[in-house]
Symmetry: C2
Subunit: 398 residues, 2 copies
Amino acid sequence: MYTSLQITSSEYQSRAARLLEHIKGQQLGGVVLFDNFHITYLTGFIFIPTERPMAFAMNASGERVLFVPRLELEHAKAEAQVERVESYLEYPGDPHPMRQFAEILQKLEIRDLIGADNVGYPWILGYQGPTLSSLTGCEIVNVNPFVEHQMAIKSEAEIALIRESVKWGNLAHRLLQKYTRVGANEVEVSMRASNEATLAMIATLGSLYRSGSMWSDGAEAGYRGQIGRNAAIPHSLTTNATFLPGDVLVTGANAPVWGYNSEVERTMVIGEPSADQRKFFEHMKAAQETAFDALRPGAKCSDVDHAVRAYFEKYDLMPYWRHHSGHSIGLRYHEGPFLDSGDNTVLEPGMVFTVEPGLYVPDLGGFRHSDTVVITENGLEILTYYPRDLASLTISSQ
Amino acid sequence: MYTSLQITSSEYQSRAARLLEHIKGQQLGGVVLFDNFHITYLTGFIFIPTERPMAFAMNASGERVLFVPRLELEHAKAEAQVERVESYLEYPGDPHPMRQFAEILQKLEIRDLIGADNVGYPWILGYQGPTLSSLTGCEIVNVNPFVEHQMAIKSEAEIALIRESVKWGNLAHRLLQKYTRVGANEVEVSMRASNEATLAMIATLGSLYRSGSMWSDGAEAGYRGQIGRNAAIPHSLTTNATFLPGDVLVTGANAPVWGYNSEVERTMVIGEPSADQRKFFEHMKAAQETAFDALRPGAKCSDVDHAVRAYFEKYDLMPYWRHHSGHSIGLRYHEGPFLDSGDNTVLEPGMVFTVEPGLYVPDLGGFRHSDTVVITENGLEILTYYPRDLASLTISSQ
């Protein structure tokens, strides 16, 4: 047996066993999952979701079936940890593929009360089709809270993949900072940093590495348009800009590892920081530390966000507030629960969050660090380790 | 007024005017759109969809409102072609942001019969919330067929962006082929080609260029794991593989331009092609030409797929069939209508498709070209122009 970073077969079995317990506990006829991340979580099958519907079904005997288009049959058989893969010819097709899926559910004796994560296959890239209830005539109950909670508590193996992701995100970020200079183009710098970090990563990890992502083949670091005055817009998109002296920059780096993500973001300044830049940077950093202090098992997600907002209010910073304090991260780069004043989920060991309160100042820029942390038995561990202080994040304008 | 590649303000106005005609014609109280591509199509606002709900609303007087999280307020105000942007604090928040949206709909007098593209904000990245019908108590009718048909017929300006995209995808593909050689790693080759093509593109187009994509900053070409025997799996993911003599490769290249995509894919062979490789390559090429011949205004999407399947059947190729003949492309890299035997949509001038019948041979590899074409008044124009013949696509194994 060769060494591997991949999640083991026995871990997929125990994930399935927990879902089966839920089916039995709730007296469901079975469960149907449409969400591609739910399918990956339960089966290990990483794929490109398209307009062609796919679904995972488990009956009350624990039998697991994956329903895929013909296109994905060999791929699913090779990789999905299920008892059986069933395929349909094509979408839209005639008859609609979901008719065939309804027959599979009948054969699996998944009926009466069916747990599902959505009303039907989600409408992406133009997909249209019938709901699960209209297909089966059965009552559908929402199993999202169960599956999402299961995914929110990361195992040791999942945390190990996130730790590996953090390392290569750190390298990509280090190179991003190194190559960022006045007059350079953001796309050029981002590509160079991402490219070199990825080559180093795949040479280092060799066959241990797969991104497990349809969007990325390796480590990535960039600005996504958060440059200078644009940085006051948190979710900007790349604008093909060049760096100027005095720019406030907000970065982001990640490296998907077998599908698992991490996030490190830093605020950097080009040239000697102004008094205003210093002020907002230090407030942002203190607000993030306020969040770190509030993150512990037994506290609620909302407690963390309330603590951050109290800090903002104390220093009259609410005009610069734009978003909550963070989100969960794992197979998805954003997932619940959220560090939001409206989310009263209790923090538990194994939950992994980004911690990223931000300040956005018109005509000056955005100020946001993001670190990836895991809740432990006693408090939290900050998995990302890129320097957080202004001196380390100041880029010479010479 | 500076020159620009971007879709003009007047084109957004005419898109909105056509939606308003539909509202009036169907006697709707108004329309609500949740899909991020629908919002971009109607408003020009390109953004990163997240768990934070967003929606576009238009009432029967033609008043357009975009509903966004506080995070996106300045961004939306700067870019969205609407009468008004309304924002909510944060998701999940308390109360749920969709309560505030329901009040906005009341003020807009969008009631009774509401057209919508989905039952509610779609469940992505962990979002959960009420349906539009439960929020408003109104009857909801599906406006997808109208909006999707509107998007399917590309304007001259949209086709111009797709033409621009084709050029830079072509460059990325040319570099991909140039750097692919025995012993190289697919990720290294893909990054080098994408990187150089992107630098050339942004230097050439300068401020005319924005990717308008959350996933890509420029031109991209790669293999996505479709290498050697793996190439028999159409939707494989990157496996960090190295090239070997005798490999059959399936490529893909694109360059989003102001959000618009094109697709060119080619089958390449490393070393002198074997008799089997030649046979399947030439059948694949002939099947694609069969599809080209069937694409004309007035024919149906299904006619094209039937013609391709007839070719497959004539030459006993159905064991190697895995998927339909192509899909529409535009703001999305896959969208409807589909060149599928179950899709009876009539072809109209301005529709843009990928044409890509494929053959997948176990233990040998996959064979697929994809070209991007536009239906014209008289037939079709093939927008992609990368060589399609085997001699041009054979890579030396020396």
